[in-house]
Amino acid sequence: MKRAGKGPDDRTMLSVMQIRAGGCGGCALEIEAVSLREAGLSLTQHPGHADILLVSGAAGPEMRRAVEAAWAGMAEPKQLVLVGDCAIGGGPFAGGYAGIEGFGLRLPAVLAVPGSPPHPAEILAALRSLTAAAVSTAPPATERASPPPAGEADRPAPLPAAPRHRLGDDGSSGS
């Protein structure tokens, strides 16, 4: 649900809509391995209820429309997170007659987690950073998200979404 000033739990629990836009499905497998509850998130199937849109996979025109429609259907404030090289820049499948493209240049992603696929801990860290930011800016700011447990600090931090990501020759980011 959108934050509507219910109890403290409701206020800090963000809703996320996940779209598998195509590709091999590896990033979606790794998203499955993440405990969304641990990241302070609950899943929703409805863009209207979602605070965060979590997109993975190499998308052709059809799924780009679907993702863009979901994004347009989300109420502000809303955030887009791209998981994996394919969602960011099309990955090894970019171009071709099927028109595969990433969303990195099309939609204003707040976070992009590179990798093919990224490790679940990297995805979790990215999502936690969003929930932590939401808590710190939620009016009134009565609670703070707990810091990530020890041992996760050495994981690579997720990249802020940039217009172009530097990917390896094979389209991977060397995960």
Binding site: R20, G22, G25, G26, G60, E62, M63, G96, S116
Partner: protein, 426 residues
């Protein structure tokens, strides 16, 4: 019925001209021979699991037994060939795909609506020697709707392309009367990436890396089947320990998929971490290479893998999970242990590529069914390829089983199957 049609279909196929590039497996039939085969399939029980084209011919993969493949090739005349889907409904979708990709039409097919091409590609028939213009504007997909549906007061329930039932994008249309399903129709293709065209011109190692990225739920199976196809094409022999370790990896992938289906996230995660330590990737992607290994497995981590599996064994042996067959898991664990016991001589992918036209066929058993990979090389680069992915057989089985079931049962079953569309769409 003539005497010729009383012979088994396999005998009829073998009476064709043995293909020079894949002599013991692929046989080329004349137009009349293909028509005889079509007629013979009316009564012969031989399984036909896949159909594809290379622009010149159309090929059907027949299985005399699960591990006895036979490919029959028929000529394509004026961009047409005689359909086999009336005799083998499983080939309906492959015939639709041949039309989308090659512009080659199956005469007398059960269905010729687009499957992969939803009018949004930059060209039509992209694999044909002369692709067609883009079909614009894209038309909405056409789903079946009959007068009987109308009379029965059925309702059409559209689902997708974004839905939580399939592992990836896909559209479902369910015709329902009250709670009962009259018909389920699936339309995939939204995650088509044009893998076949991307492989064109690639060498075996480069192609193998891309093949491993087709479907994350079976990337090891794809890499193993592709490596086997390349090795059979080039006549490369692979030693026993390498074969054993590859089988172990395919079995590990099946175990991981079983754990995922039963929702044991923690156990699956521990298994994937052990696999990452041994093979350099949680999905074990990129380790197997044609001719040997694309990346050397970590021998120390390999030594630790049996101990890691022993720790997981109590979780793996649980019998209270509907998605798991404990006997199958046990069998897979035995394959893993056997595969890990051999000494591994590291053989990098062989660079010396034979000239001429070579073809190979490889297979691997995924949790979702058998995967077959056929590839053709000309002077060392891929010129044609096809994978018979098990997902399409699942789609077909679901559509066949749907009529008469309760809607909620059907939707739960689709979600339970964990149908990954990535391999089906490619």
């Amino acid at each position: 019925m003539s005497g010729r049609l009383r012979v088994p279909a396999a005998t009829l196929v073998r009476a064709g001209r043995a293909s020079a590039a894949l002599p013991a497996t692929r046989f080329e039939l004349s137009e009349a021979g293909w028509a005889d085969l079509a007629e013979r399939l009316l009564t012969d029980p031989i399984a036909a699991s896949g159909l594809w084209s290379d622009g010149e011919q159309v090929h059907v993969l027949l299985l005399e037994s699960p591990d006895a493949p036979l490919i029959a090739s028929g000529p394509v005349e004026a961009k047409r060939f005689l359909a086999l889907s009336p005799m083998r409904p499983l080939l309906t979708v492959p015939e639709r795909m041949v039309r989308d990709l090659w512009g080659i039409e199956a005469m007398g097919a059960r269905d010729l609506r687009p499957w992969l091409d939803h009018g949004m590609w930059t060209q039509s028939a992209p694999l044909a020697s002369r692709p067609g213009p883009v079909a614009w504007p894209p038309e909405p997909p056409e789903f079946l709707w009959t007068e009987e549906d109308e009379r029965a007061g059925a309702m059409a329930l559209p689902i997708g392309p974004v839905q939580p039932l399939l592992q990836g994008p896909g559209q479902l249309r369910v015709a329902v009367c009250g709670e009962r399903v009259r018909r389920l129709e699936m339309l995939l293709g939204s995650s088509h990436r044009g893998v076949a065209l991307r492989l064109h011109g690639a060498g075996p190692v480069e192609a193998g890396l891309l093949v491993g990225r087709i479907d994350a739920t079976r990337c090891v199976a794809y890499e193993a089947a592709f490596a086997q196809a390349v090795e059979s094409a080039f006549g490369w022999s692979v030693d026993g320990p390498t074969r054993g370790l590859r089988s172990a990896m395919v079995a590990l992938e099946r175990i991981a998929n079983r754990l995922r289906a039963s929702g044991d996230v923690a156990c699956r995660d521990r298994l994937l971490e052990a696999c990452a330590a041994a093979f350099g990737h949680r999905l074990m992607r990129g380790a197997i290479g044609p001719g040997g290994w694309a990346r050397r497995p970590d021998e120390r981590a390999l030594e630790h893998l049996p101990a890691a599996l022993s720790l997981l064994e109590p979780s793996l042996a649980r019998t209270d999970r509907p998605a798991e067959d404990p006997l199958e898991t046990k069998r897979d664990l035995a394959i893993v242990r056997r595969g890990l016991s051999g000494l591994l001589p590291f053989v990098p992918a062989t660079p010396a590529l034979p000239a001429g036209v070579r073809e190979g066929l490889g297979s691997a058993e995924t949790l979702f069914g058998p995967l077959w990979v056929w590839v053709r090389f000309e002077n060392g680069t891929v010129t044609a390829w096809h994978a018979v992915d098990p997902a399409l057989a699942r789609v077909h089985a679901l559509e066949q089983a749907a009529p008469g079931t309760a809607l909620d049962v059907l939707l739960a079953e689709i979600a339970r199957l964990g149908l990954s569309v990535a391999g089906a769409d490619q």
